[in-house]
Amino acid sequence: MVSVLKSEAIYSYSFYQRLKKDTKMKARITVTLKTGVLDPQGKAIEHALEGLGFAGVDEVRQGKLIELDLNDTDKDAAMTRVTEMCEKLLANTVIENYSIELE
């Protein structure tokens, strides 16, 4: 009895997820420091990797990954909106570059 209830629950959850997938979009934003901007955290990671004996790492640059669940259905409109978000808040364009992936 219990197992039946369980599988029903799983079924309805995945069904709900599929429904959600049809109407929603995901944006994945990668924020990285611009070339020429010193990245002290990247440098520290580089030294730590060296200390662990991983040879052949020339440079480490650290960044941020930001994921957004959007209600948008139109890709172009979503891209415009997310670009505006990046310019206004998510990235500081004085020191950072950003790239946007939509799926």
């Binding site: 901007v37 010193l38 002290p40 955290q41 520290a44 808040l89 998510l90 500081n92 004085v94 020191i95």
Partner: protein, 229 residues
Amino acid sequence: MRSSVIVFPASNCDRDASVALEQITGSKPSMIWHAESSVPETDLIVLPGGFSFGDYLRSGAMAAQSPIMKDVIAKAKAGVPVLGICNGFQVLVESELLPGALMRNRDIKFLCKDVQLKVERGDTIFTSKYNQGEIITIPIAHHDGNYFASDETLKELEGEGRVAFRYVDRDGAATSEANPNGSLNNIAGIYNKDMKVLGLMPHPERLISQELGGTDGLGLFESLVEALA
């Protein structure tokens, strides 16, 4: 002289700023919560130090989007003097009232110590009580004070005399050893174009009486009183 201190969630030098302002201007500043939509009529706005919004995303980035900042920006553009100390400086660059960015310190460590600063000019509303070239000792307490700007912006700041303070050694030389955080050109503080917005990483409000270890910060507030009272 009427002054206002903006208080963000996790501001922690707002009270220090308030005590300094009350002691030196003779009247209590208005403490303005970040969610307010306007700053009452005032002669000076202070953005205090701290870790507004837990430094999430980037130091000062969230505070720069606070409702009150719309009015702070409008008032600054209308000529109301604004002083941003430490996190306040970070908020000023994030809200684009000042150019450049404040990045993680060169050696990644949080720094809390006294540093020597050179007063680059003694003719602004913030520095008239100091002499040009005077070396003062002021504490710093920050993780993200590494000033960065494009070559073009840096040239503009230097060319227009908009560097307010520089990290120097005891002889006044801006060496890399005297530079605690890796700031370009040893920059500790800068002005906007009309010299009425000042952002600096060091904390002058923490050095306003002998009981606190010194009075080198007094000059900045006394200059403001002379100019604005």
